[in-house]
Amino acid sequence: MLKILIKNRISALLYSLFNTGRRGRQRTKLASAGLFILLLYAAAAFIMLFGMIFSQICQPFHAAGLDWFYFAFTAILAFALMFIGSVFATHSQLYEAKDNELLLSMPIPPRAILLSRMISLLLLNFIFDLIVAIPAGFVYFTSLQTDVSSLFFFILVFLFLPLLSLAVSSAFAWLISRISARIRNKSLFVTLFSFLFLGAYFYFYSQMNNYVQLLILNSSSSASKVRAFAAPVYWLGTAIADSNVQYLLLGLLCVIVPFIVVFLILSNTFIKTVTVKHGAAKVVYREKPLKVSSPQKALLQKELRQFLSCPTYILNASLGIVFIFIGGVFLLIKSDLVLQFVSIIPDSSGLIPAIITLFLCGMATLNNITAPSISLEGKRLWIIKSIPVSPLDILTSKLKLHLFLCIPPILFTAVISVFIFSSSAVNAVCMIFLPIMVTIFCALLGLIANLKFPRFDWISETAAVKQGASVLIAIFGSMGAVLLPVIIYFFLPASFSLDVYLLSCLVVFTLACALLYRWLTVRGVKVFESL
């Protein structure tokens, strides 16, 4: 039974990767290869990042006789990445999957359903684990003389470590599920919680270099603290560094036992947790005058409600909005500090507007609200296809949502920047209009990518928001479109005016948007009609 369920989960995963979601149409070999390269690129980028960190700490730690701490640090980092990378997927896969009830109605033990899902999540954790373990192992075992048993113990530890991460993220997901079942505005709770979580994550990430330096400087005291307060981490680190069998067994016990305990608790509460009726007491309808809107406004309101109802959508598609807004607030509050910093930079008057523009454009590419917007119609596509509204109005409503949500924070931060840095008219135009044009470009690119690569066969909205090819195309396509002019600039003669260059970029993006919009109105409408 378990085998069948696991096979089913893996089939679903492969189907989501290699199927377009349109009436079972297979993704072309070229598209599959492209997707594979994109995933590989993302993994390689992370491996490089961690490789740099490990290269910095490997020799100092070894010289200080703290090899065990090197592996303990690797384990902590791998655990953190696994937890952060999989906690939301764990929540949606374990407790929000729409086939839970169907599977529970079959003669399948709930324990088997849970275990099959946990094993597929374990694979996800293992991928994150490898992203940290590969560079750590490569740096250590290629730069230092070690014995084979140490490498063998290293492999064993990082093979079992995902069990601990899965245990913690499953318990965390269970907690989120229990709390959200008791509150009315679940999506608001999950969104706020997730933003706080991500805020902490990004803060930590931004301070990573400082932490690494601090870690090197205070390696002995940090190591003694880990040894005192996190004995299992010490055991795991020492097991690898000294090929210590006793510590290996102790460390692995600390990894395996929590998994078994969490699995037993969850399997005993699985039915109750997944079948609990979400939301609080029933709200009785009381008649009141209805608000009348135009069809276009009604469609936009519908898009907005859909966006706000799905925390995964908010978190994955609008991070740029948050960063841009935070940037604006920071400029407003800390303008003195920023101006003081800017005054140190030589020839900053020309450079600062370009940096601000680049920041706003870069952050704008993190917003991909339109990219899953057609896929999210899912089985409800019949509604917008049967109403007497033109396909262009329907597509425009999705574009409008992207622009209405993304442009105000850009305007806020850009206008503040213009005033703080007393920018010239040309700089002001670039700072305000270039990020807006990039936003329009991202919205159009995402929508067109989703028209070409929709997937309506999702069980959980997470699949539409995170796993669609259109989302990948929108993210990497828009990032590439912003990075390309930056790269080109470095090949231009130093005498080339930055103002002229930024204005040229504005013209190019305006033309690109015009072309994409033209495609949407002519071909896009036809593609939508054929969905």
């Binding site: 309808y285 209805l290 069809p295 309101q301 409800r380 109403i387 007497p388």
Partner: protein, 237 residues
């Protein structure tokens, strides 16, 4: 009211609907019967402008669904076999959304929402999110939303699935009233007893091709509709 002329729809090499022609007049309740996978839903979706077709033509009250889709959609309402609605909206917000896209006057929409939600005993639940609705409640909401703009033609795919006996009875009454007032209904069903009692005309489809059609009396003769259907199925097996 609905004229399907030589409709053909292919999925790859397989013709889901093959040269189908049906003509439905105002005042008629027209039943559409066939085995699973016969092409009923494909035909219905093509009539509603949800699915494009390869050849043939479909006219709604004289307008072509191919060339004047918006005109056609204003005149018709579609109720799907599975009421997948916007679960992130409450019942009332969904109905108001539908009223907005059909540009229904404020007082008219309020009156119609009250009338139909009272009839289907759904008024008390309209503030609830659709995600909290049962299948039957979603089906009722889909029916109410279809009636809001008083369409000339209602196209329904298995409309009685999931409805309780009272709602089912009410729907049959509303269907009759709608047609008595000059409207037309085209619906698919597997419940042959209902089709026999309710329909003025019926068409039986098999593997995308029309097997027989006409008034109920013409199609069934002295037999029951069930007997005729089974005989036709066996005859073509």
């Amino acid at each position: 009211m609905l004229k399907i002329e030589n409709l053909t729809k292919r999925f790859g090499n397989n013709a889901a609907v093959d040269n189908l022609s049906i003509h439905i007049l105002p005042g008629e309740i027209y039943g559409f019967i066939g085995h699973n996978g016969a092409g009923k839903t494909t035909t219905i979706k093509a009539c509603c402008g949800i699915m494009q077709f390869d050849s043939g033509e479909i006219y709604i009250d004289g307008s072509s669904i191919r060339t004047q889709p918006l005109e056609c959609k204003k005149k018709l309402a579609y109720i799907p076999d599975n009421p997948d609605l916007y679960e992130f909206l409450s019942g009332i917000k969904y109905l108001n959304f539908i009223a907005d896209v059909y540009s229904i006057d404020k007082t008219v929409r309020e009156a119609r929402i009250k009338k139909y939600s009272d009839l289907f005993e759904l008024t008390g639940d309209l503030a609830q999110p659709i995600s909290a609705y049962s299948h039957g409640m979603k089906q009722k909401l889909a029916i109410i939303s279809a009636l809001l703009h008083e369409p000339k033609l209602i196209i329904m795919d298995e409309p009685f699935v999931g409805l309780d006996p009272k709602a089912s009875h009410l729907l049959k009454q509303l269907m009759r009233e709608h047609c008595d007032n000059g409207g037309a209904i085209f619906f698919s069903t597997h419940v042959l007893d209902v089709a026999e009692k309710l329909c003025d005309k019926v068409a039986i489809i098999r593997r995308g091709k029309l097997v027989t059609s006409g008034t109920m009396e013409e199609v069934r003769g002295n037999d029951s509709l069930e007997e005729v259907f089974l005989e036709l199925e066996e005859g073509h097996a």
